[in-house]
Every structure is written in structure tokens, then in C-alpha cells.
Symmetry: C2
Subunit: 199 residues, 2 copies
């Protein structure tokens, strides 16, 4: 015997989410069964509506309910500094970190020859056009610190070199709260290389 | 700036689920934004419908779409052995483990004087009535191995003693795949106490 079909159906739907296995899905399903009707309905609605209400920003390609997005519409944000990220989730992470007052450009992925993703599949031409069109002084390449992210950052840097725009890459080093004992040697090596004076 | 309102709304709804923090909620939200329409709609529907389509089994008090539930309706399951659990999720865990061919009784919680939950808030009277009504030979007390679960098991054993029903408690010991180094001393103590001959 298994659980009742409506519970099984919910569990199998929840299991398709990233990071949610059989156990978590079952725990979530039983939690929802015990939760109040309003909370359950709100969650269901929020899921159903999120895709319908969201479009891509015509300027930076972030997900937004209104194009251009809030950052691109905000006159207080510097137009001269553009932070290039792989995905909307990366943009959200930089915004959550706070402190960055420039604009963004979402590539929509990274180079990945193994999956057949070449430069034409990313929004690199759109970034080049944006550098021409707006007075961009600095491009911060904030693709992820792995082989694909590095390759993508280097390709973009090659394409934009010689156009009078400053090209920077986010820093590599020890994460805050990290532990040398459990950190890979490449990160430790970069962290030593990029050491700074204590002031 | 934060994400677009429909995304924020979804993240804040997901964050109310147990074990889902800000980061997981954001990851799930972006996953759903990238998932196909059908998958997202199915998840939304499964959540909306699960509470509407589920009732309590009149016999064992498990959650079911049809009372009596599949276990209580199944003539192949022994009526003489009743496994007493705290919650429907515990029943589901025992069923997933397989091998148990008896019936269940869901208490709906444990004794918890600190939260004002006394014996009358649990389905103990219903269990007593069931022992009288059906020919129950054994009650397996499968409440959780913690203070509340133990207290509840003992209370039920006290109530049912002298009625000719065998009263058993699930075994304590080392979990499979566990490591003595990281196991608490009470569990190790119980595991030694309950040691068995190797055959």
C-alpha cells in the first residue's frame, strides 16, 4: 500500500524540484496537509502565476513583471557599470548582497561545448550592442568561478577589448566562514595570490 | 531593488515550508520559472487539491482519499496486529519500509504537557474501543524514540494492560549506516543492552 493518490501525486510533483528527494517531498506533503487552507491556496496560486506574470527585461534580460525591469528603470543606478551574470538567480544573489549600484546583463548561460552551447546561444551580441549604445565604462564579469564561467568571461573580454571599456572579473579567494582545512587547493592558491595589505 | 513581485511572492510562500530557507526558496522559484508550463501547473494543482481530496480514515485515522483507507479495506492485512504511530507521516514511513502486514492506528500526536496536550487530545480512547471491538492480539507502540514518544507509549501500555493484548515497543539501537563515533551515548547504551546472538 502507498499513500492516498492525491498525496502520492503531490509527492511525485514535489520530487521533481531540485534538491527535493522522496523524504523531503513526503515531509512537505504532510506539512501542507496540516497547514491552513489559505496558506496552501496562496502557495498554489503563487506557483501557477509566476510564469504567466513574468517576462524578460528588454534591456538586461532579467526576469521581470514589467519591462524594462526595476533596475533598468531606476535613474539612481549608474548606467556606466554593467555586471554580467549567467542567470537571473545570480543577479538576485548580487542584489541580495547589496552594495552594487550599477546595472546588469544576464547572459542566459555559459559556454558549454559539451552541451553544444556556443557564444551565439548567449546574449553576447546584445552586450556588445549595449556597450556601443550606452556610455559603458566598466564591465564586471561575474560569471561563476568554474571552467565554463571563466571561459565565458575570457571570451567576452576578448570581444570587448579595445573599445575603451574597463573589463574586470570578480575576485577569487576564501569564502567568509570557510575553513582552510576543507578548502580546495585552487581556492587557497588564488587566495594567497590575491592577498592584500592589512590596513 | 528586489526581484519582481510575482517572484518575491513565490519565494515568500516557499519560505514558509519546513526546511526551506531564503536560498532554497529562491533556487526553487528560479527553477519553476525555467520549468515547462505543464510541470508548473501540475505542481500547483497537486498542492491546491491535496487538502480538498483528503479525509481521515474512520478506522485508523490515517489521511486517505476514501474512508476506510486502503490498508483498513485490505482483507490481506492482519487485523490482529495494530501498529500505533504518532502521525500519518510516520505511518507512511513504516509502509515505505515494507514488511509490516498488520494495521495501523494514528494517535494524532504525543503527550506534551508543555503544549497542553494530554491523553484526551490523542486518539487513545478510539484505540481502546478498537481493542474491544476487533480481535487485537498485539499492539506495537511505534511512537518516536524520544521523551514524548516514550511517555505516550507507556501511557497507552498502562491503559491496555490486563486486556489480554500483547504490548510491544519498537527496538532501539544503532541506525544502519550509523557511526559509533557520532552516535549519542544513550543510543549506544541501548544498542549494547539489546544486543542479539549472531546466527
Amino acid at each position: 500500500m502507498r499513500s492516498a493518490p492525491p498525496i502520492e501525486r503531490l509527492v511525485s510533483n514535489l520530487k521533481r524540484l531540485p534538491g527535493i528527494g522522496e523524504k523531503s517531498a513526503t515531509r512537505l506533503a504532510f506539512f501542507l496537509l496540516g497547514a491552513n487552507e489559505t496558506q496552501v491556496q496562496e502557495l498554489s496560486d503563487a506557483i501557477a502565476r509566476v510564469k504567466k506574470d513574468i517576462v524578460l527585461c528588454e534591456e538586461c534580460f532579467d526576469l521581470t513583471d514589467h519591462s524594462p525591469c526595476a533596475v533598468c528603470r531606476d535613474p539612481a543606478r549608474e548606467t556606466g557599470v554593467v555586471c554580467v551574470v549567467e542567470e537571473p538567480a545570480d543577479l538576485a544573489a548580487v542584489e541580495r548582497a547589496g552594495g552594487f549600484r550599477g546595472r546588469y546583463h544576464v547572459l542566459g548561460g555559459t559556454l558549454s561545448p559539451i552541451d553544444g552551447i556556443g557564444p551565439e546561444a548567449l546574449r553576447i551580441a546584445e552586450l556588445e550592442a549595449r556597450v556601443e549604445r550606452c556610455a559603458v565604462q566598466e564591465i564586471i564579469l561575474a560569471t561563476n568561478p568554474n571552467a565554463e564561467g571563466d571561459a565565458t568571461a575570457h571570451l567576452i573580454a576578448d570581444r570587448l577589448r579595445g573599445r575603451g571599456v574597463r573589463l574586470t572579473r570578480i575576485a577569487y579567494g576564501m569564502p567568509l566562514g570557510g575553513d582552510l582545512e576543507y578548502t580546495d587547493h585552487v581556492t587557497i592558491g588564488r587566495s594567497l595570490e590575491n592577498r592584500r595589505e592589512i590596513d
